[in-house]
């Protein structure tokens, strides 16, 4: 009898233990493997999402809307055009037990300008000086007015000065020590990243105690791992596999409109056909975006009439796409003196955006229908993007979303006339240039009042999309995730596609 009781007790305990384990751990197959664990060495969203679990920024982006919220700084203020004051949170400790103070903030921002360890060289170099007022107050002064400076503080992760300086640089590259919701356990490159909850996290311990991330780049393998129950959820469901995955009764597909818009950029070199606004309009009208979404994107995209997405400063909800009208396009071309069309080279990457090559091909076919002869020039992103940076192209497909949720920075980068001295227009790959737009854009940098600035950016957006047709907008991508139903995971995707495990629960 006693023996039976013992057996029953053990069984019950094991059952409870099993449940506790099941409740608090998660295995996720992600489509983007981490490249390093040095939080400043990778400025891609694929990399930042890993760092964001181990580290905190001064500020953070929260939840499904990406609202800017306090993190290591409790509040912040723009004192004047150049100065930003941050009041730091007290009592926060790094994973190694060191307290977090203003010295760590200064150390972090100074580290950014060293290209050997940082891809945020631009942010680092834009800082003039950092004043430590006391252990928990800093003022950061920039060289030029940067209205979106605070908006970017969720991407700059604070490192422990003492710890980072004392360790070998190679070790810093692979072992993160931050203040974040999760402590680093182990990273076997190509196999997994393991992390465990930081029970002393300043925001409260995260609900999921153990996280194991399995990077699987091959989409069919990722799907097989999910369906065979080896992982609880996957990121990055390809549109080709969507129907198959959605039909599986064990799996729930979670989708979310992505922030990234896909668009075509056109040059306007004087004397070329595309310098004529009628030709730009005709090209816009010639493209059947609804059909691209239906056939190429298989329904997983939303039409775009502008580059920014709704939460971005500068977005206007009154912009509408020009309707698809090949006859009207032909008429406009005739008016502009190109009744027999003209020749243009359309470039694009083939390994960067969802169905990028197919979109470029479709666009070429639509343009051919109104008489424009399009030469296709599609290549890997490692060759394509340097060409954009050098301004060698005349017409190309690109995608964008701004991590700062502020169109100002993006416009300086993509639409301002290329200017080596001032550092504008580095990714204006087709050398678009309009003096009026440049002037209006430069005036926004000094406006401190947020509402006023937003108004000007909205006007700028309208001018670019309606009056000048700087770009032909196509669509916003959709992010797709798949979760095993029986694992009871509560998960809401973020607009920036980061996997932040403290926001997930079971």
């Amino acid at each position: 009898m006693k023996k039976l009781f013992l057996i029953a007790l053990t069984a019950a305990l094991m059952l409870v233990a099993g449940q506790v384990m099941a409740q608090t751990s998660i295995v996720v197959a992600q489509d983007d493997p981490p490249r390093m664990m040095n939080p400043h060495g990778d400025d891609s969203d694929a990399g930042l999402q890993y760092f964001a679990n181990f580290f905190d920024g001064l500020l953070q982006r929260k939840g499904s809307e990406g609202t800017l919220a306090p993190a290591l700084a409790e509040r912040w203020e723009r004192l004047d055009a150049l100065s930003w004051k941050f009041w730091l949170r007290k009592g926060v400790k790094f994973h190694n037990g060191n307290p977090f103070t203003a010295a760590d903030v200064k150390f972090t921002f100074e580290r950014l300008s060293n290209p050997e360890v940082s891809e945020f060289v631009n942010t680092g170099k834009s800082i003039d000086k950092i004043d430590i007022l006391d252990d928990y107050t800093v003022v950061i002064k920039t060289k030029d007015p940067i209205p979106w400076f605070a908006n970017n503080m969720h991407q700059i992760f604070i490192m422990d000065k003492e710890d980072t300086e004392s360790r070998d640089p190679g070790n810093v590259m692979v072992r993160p020590v931050g203040t974040g919701a999760y402590k680093f356990v182990e990273w076997v490159k190509g196999s997994y990243v393991k992390m465990e909850a930081n029970e002393n996290y300043w925001e409260g311990a995260p609900p999921i105690k153990k996280v194991e991330i399995r990077p699987i780049t091959e989409s069919s393998t990722r799907f097989a791992a999910l369906v065979s129950g080896q992982v609880d959820m996957v990121t990055g469901v390809p549109v080709e596999l969507y129907d198959k995955i959605a039909a599986n009764p064990k799996v729930r597909v979670v989708s979310r409109p992505a922030r990234r818009s896909i668009f075509l950029a056109l040059g306007n070199k004087p004397g070329t056909p595309m310098a004529d606004i009628r030709v730009r309009k005709a090209m816009y009208m010639a493209i059947n975006e609804d059909e691209i979404i239906e056939k190429v994107m298989r329904g997983h995209a939303a039409p775009a009439a502008q580059i920014p997405d709704p939460p971005t400063i500068g977005y206007r909800d009154d912009l509408k796409r020009m309707p698809y009208d090949p006859e009207g396009a032909k008429k406009l071309l005739k008016e502009a003196g190109y009744a027999n069309g003209f020749e243009v080279t359309l470039s694009g990457p083939n390994d960067r955006y969802i169905q990028d090559e197919q979109i470029v091909e479709a666009a070429a076919k639509y343009l051919a229908k109104v008489g424009i002869k399009v030469k296709l020039d599609v290549k890997p992103k490692s060759i394509f993007f340097p060409e954009v940076a050098e301004g060698k192209l005349e017409f190309y497909l690109i995608g964008w979303f701004d991590g700062t949720f502020d169109m100002g920075r993006t416009y300086f980068k993509l639409a301002h006339t290329r200017d080596k001295e001032k550092g504008y227009g580095e990714l204006n790959g087709a050398n678009y240039s309009n003096a009026e737009l440049d002037k209006m854009l430069e005036s926004t940098a000094d406006i401190i009042d947020i509402q006023k600035r937003e108004k000007v950016l909205q006007d700028l957006n309208k001018m670019a999309m309606v009056d000048l047709i700087v770009w032909i907008p196509l669509h916003y991508q959709v992010d797709l995730y798949a979760v095993l139903k029986d694992r009871g995971i509560k998960f809401e995707p973020r607009p920036d596609r980061w996997m932040i495990y403290k926001e997930i629960s079971k």
Binding site: D43, S220, T221, I383
Partner: protein
Amino acid sequence: MVTYIARRLIQGFIVLLAVSMICFFIFRYMGDPVITMAGRYATFQEREEVRRIFGLDQPMYVQYGRFLWNAAHGNFGKSYVSRVPALGLIMERFPATFELALFAVCLAFSTGVGLGVLVSLKPYALRNRLIMAGSLGGISIPTFLTGILLIMIFAVYGGLLPSFGRGETVQVGFWRTGLLTLDGIQHLILPALTLASYQLAVLLRLTRAGMREVMTQEYIKTAWSKGLPPRKVIFKHALRNVMIPVVTIAGLQFGEILAFSIVTETIYQWPGMGNLLLVSIYENDQPVIVTYIMLASVIIISLNIVVDILYAVLNPKIRYA
């Protein structure tokens, strides 16, 4: 023999130099790494500064000379992407690839030769004809399809074997092995089978052809007529003579599997060198690509030499001048 080996080593060295030059120059034209290294929002000046710091502003021959000099000192440069030494990054992945390749070649060799002998004894039996037809499949079905089919059957529908990764591994010194845990071995089965399928078929067909030829030879007839047991005739007298081309091919294949199991490693997310190479090509990480190709050449060249030596051991008739 010694002069022969010395000559082979010198040849190998020249090949290595040529390989390094070709891949160094080709991958420099694969795109500009500075764009990503400086970050998306870098200005023109910041980009130029990064270029200077990493020495990418210098003429190609200076860069190549510096690369050779450093390589001679065992320094193959740092990865542009993860900013740690490229050689270390690759060597970290080596155990995974080596274990997979070794397992696959052992599987291919034992099964391939075994079936080859079996088939050659009664070439027209129905079972043996089926085996031969199957081997055609092994040769002609591409690896990625074999891989996906095996995953579908054993992982998705059967739920018998894991479909990706290495499973539980144990760190023994610098070597991370998956051979010491049951989980690790289960994870090894499907990728090894995928990798072995082509090699197995080749070895099978090679053994069969060789055996059929040798079995008609006079000395085999003599052996039979002496009344030797079949085991001795087949394995000692016949198979030993067939083994020379088979070992050559198996050895060369081992090098190939070690260096280029990229497809299999990608399908199974096997954390080996091939997987790293593919990711590095995708991200244009030139130091890692160049180091990898150099390393692969070293492996293939040395295996060639080892196979030549094995030749002599297996067949004393072969002598090197």
